[in-house]
């Protein structure tokens, strides 16, 4: 008992000595405050106008200020450190602002027309100027889900196999295939739609249908999946391949049992990036699924619709009510894509344990 007490008395409180004390942050706060006031003064005294100018001037002044502070504290080397930090924070702001602005705007404007019937009705009877309590986007939601699922089912296996060819087989055509995949990722989406229209629909293999649209989306999705799959397969250590082969596995058994499971989460990322690439595509769909306003759930026969087309068609009417519906379509698409991503991640995690 005695020794226990002694030990407890001698035990120091846990600290984090590498963290700055609050008092040490005062000069930094002063620098930011002075930079902000200076930016405001510059705007009121000179020809600069607006919030953008304020942000730019504030960034400039605070960068100079924190560089000066760093120089005073730790000398010339610390100045480049402070400069780099400023650029990194600026970059985060430049990436984050538009992103959050888009999400915020879609939610703000999309909520007006959001009703239960958005998910249960179609627009076959409701006119574009009908009140929000009539008509809905069910056909477009189902269309987008079907299109994305079919396109994923086509392009993920082919993309992963292409990645395997580039990393495991390493055949004679390796350079050519890599070049083609790169070239394909630069194909404008309307060209993918035109290709399917010219070869598949005009060629008489199929009409306007969800499947034709999924083929066009697959052309866009394939290079994204293949390139990402190649990158993640490259990260699998060669040790594992050697271990598999040294145990008497054929190359395919080793790939299927060792390499692909080890790369699983990366391959899920490849799938998610592929879905992200195509879920919002409009142009190739106009030429392949044509668009409709009625509930039609067979992807193999007859024109279908999808959320991007729903948005496009309603915006085209120019009516305020229809434009509100279009924003709601965009909001539903945003949520739908998020759900698909969460599903993909969920599948990746569940099969792992």
């Amino acid at each position: 008992m005695m020794s226990t007490n002694q030990i407890q008395l001698n035990t120091p409180a846990p600290r984090k000595p590498w963290q700055k004390a609050p008092s040490a942050l005062v000069p930094d706060a002063i620098v930011f405050l002075v930079a902000f006031i200076a930016a405001e003064l510059t705007i009121s005294l000179t020809g600069f106008k607006g919030r953008l100018a304020l942000l730019l001037l504030f960034t400039l002044y605070s960068t100079v200020g924190s560089m000066a502070l760093a120089f005073k504290r730790r000398g010339i080397m610390a100045m480049s450190d402070a400069l780099a930090s400023s650029f990194i924070y600026l970059s985060i702001a430049l990436v984050g602002l538009p992103l959050f602005s888009v999400i915020f705007t879609v939610i703000l404007r999309g909520r007006h027309a959001l009703r239960i019937n958005t998910f249960t009705q179609d627009m076959s009877v409701a006119q574009p100027d009908a009140p929000f309590s009539q008509g809905g986007a069910l056909y477009a939601i189902v269309g987008t889900i079907l299109l994305v699922l079919i396109a994923t089912a086509i392009s993920v296996p082919i993309g992963v196999l292409t990645g395997l060819y580039l990393t495991e087989v390493r055949g004679k055509a390796e350079g050519l295939i890599r070049f083609l995949v790169q070239a394909m990722s630069g194909v404008p989406s309307i060209v993918a739609g035109l290709f399917i229209y010219a070869v598949w629909i005009v060629g008489g293999h199929g009409g306007f249908s969800g499947f034709s649209g999924a083929l066009a989306l697959s052309i866009l999705m394939l290079p994204t999946v293949a390139r990402t799959a190649e990158e993640v397969l490259k990260l699998i250590p060669n040790d594992l391949r050697e271990a598999g082969v040294a145990l008497g596995g054929t190359q395919w058994r080793t790939v299927a049992m060792v390499v692909l499971p080890a790369a699983r989460s990366g391959l899920i990322t490849a799938t998610v990036l592929g879905i992200a690439r195509v879920a919002g595509e409009t142009a190739p769909l106009l030429l392949t699924i044509f668009g409709t306003t009625t509930n039609h759930f067979n992807p193999f026969v007859g024109p279908m619709s999808a959320l991007p087309i729903y948005v496009f068609q309603l915006l085209g009417t120019g009516l305020n009510v229809a434009i509100d519906r279009a924003w709601t379509g965009a909001l539903v698409l945003l949520v739908l894509v998020s759900v698909l991503f969460a599903l993909a991640r969920g599948i990746g995690r569940r099969t792992k344990s």
């Binding site: 407890q8 040790d239 145990l247």
Partner: protein, 299 residues
């Protein structure tokens, strides 16, 4: 004592480490004292493996020249020599892992039970089933549990067995890992320590019941305790399989092997300088380069 402080935890760790060291030293001594430790006669049972005039190249670089060595059942052979002398390359020619380097080439024959494993039409996966390998870096399969790792060779080679549970236990016992993992066979292989992972890799190699086990510096990344365990495992294994071990640790070669081959590369491809029973290599080597190496005067 509810909350042991970091200080007294450290103290206890120190004590246990010292105890471990003592155990280690005495166990090493007991292995070396064992009668018949060195130059056990090769028995007639089991397989035999022979390299005849083996050369190896990487592109235009001639890495290994004219190696003639034979290994028989019931023996452990250590291959020693400075870095870059070609001993790992030689080991990899013995189970056809050498060909995984795109620029690799070789000449000569490797005979397993009298049949050249490089003969045209040979099923290379069958060869690697018979000649297993343990690598320098522990490489358990990260997506599999401990139990699945042990049995992964059966799945990879599509071998059907009804007594998988027994086989798993037997292999883990032989690799000296059973007691440490028997309660968590469904944990992931990556949750083990480095030494345990390496013993898991040995258990995995044993599950396909190879006739030969090639070990490429299996202890170079391990602590003395794990090294001791793996050396004990090697001694046990040598009763049923041919073991060939590449090592930079000459004490290890002296402790575990019956025969030792000394490789050296002198401004040219690596060659086998001397091959003899381990006791002779370390007590009265014939070649003065061997003597210089084993006494630590170079290398």
């Amino acid at each position: 004592m509810k909350n042991p402080t970091s200080k007294d935890r450290n103290e206890r760790d120190d004590v246990s480490t010292q105890q471990n060291d003592r155990v280690t030293v005495s166990s090493f001594a007991s292995i070396a004292d064992r009668p018949g430790f060195i130059a056990k006669d090769s028995r007639a049972i089991g397989a035999d493996l022979e390299a005849r005039g083996v050369h190896a190249w990487f592109g235009a670089h001639h890495a290994l020249a004219d190696i003639n060595l034979s290994f028989s059942a019931g023996t452990v052979t250590a291959l020693i020599g400075p870095s870059g002398c070609g001993k790992s390359t030689f080991l990899r020619t013995l189970n056809r892992m050498h060909e995984f380097i795109p620029t690799a080439a070789m000449a000569g024959e490797v005979l397993l039970d009298g049949v050249d494993i490089y003969k045209q039409g040979t099923d290379v996966t069958k060869i690697r089933l018979k000649i297993g390998m343990v690598f320098q870096k522990p490489n358990p399969f990260p997506s599999m549990t401990i139990g699945e790792n042990v049995l992964s060779g059966l799945k990879l080679a599509q071998i059907k067995r009804s007594d998988k549970e027994d086989l798993m236990e037997e292999c883990l016992v032989r690799a000296g890992l059973w007691n440490e993992v028997k309660d968590r066979l469904s944990a992931h292989g990556g949750s083990l320590s480095g030494g345990q992972q390496q013993r898991l890799c040995i258990a995995r190699a044993l599950a396909v019941q190879p006739e030969v086990l090639l070990m490429d510096e299996p202890c170079s990344a391990l602590d003395p305790g794990s090294t001791l365990r793996i050396e004990e495992t090697i001694r046990h294994l040598s009763e049923s399989v041919i073991v060939v071990i590449v090592t930079h640790n000459m004490q290890q070669a002296a402790r575990v092997s019956d025969y030792t081959g000394f490789f050296l590369s002198e401004e040219g491809p690596g060659r086998l300088i001397e091959y003899a029973p381990t006791r002779e290599i370390f007590s009265r080597p014939k070649d003065q380069r061997t003597e210089a190496y084993v006494t630590g005067r170079f290398g």
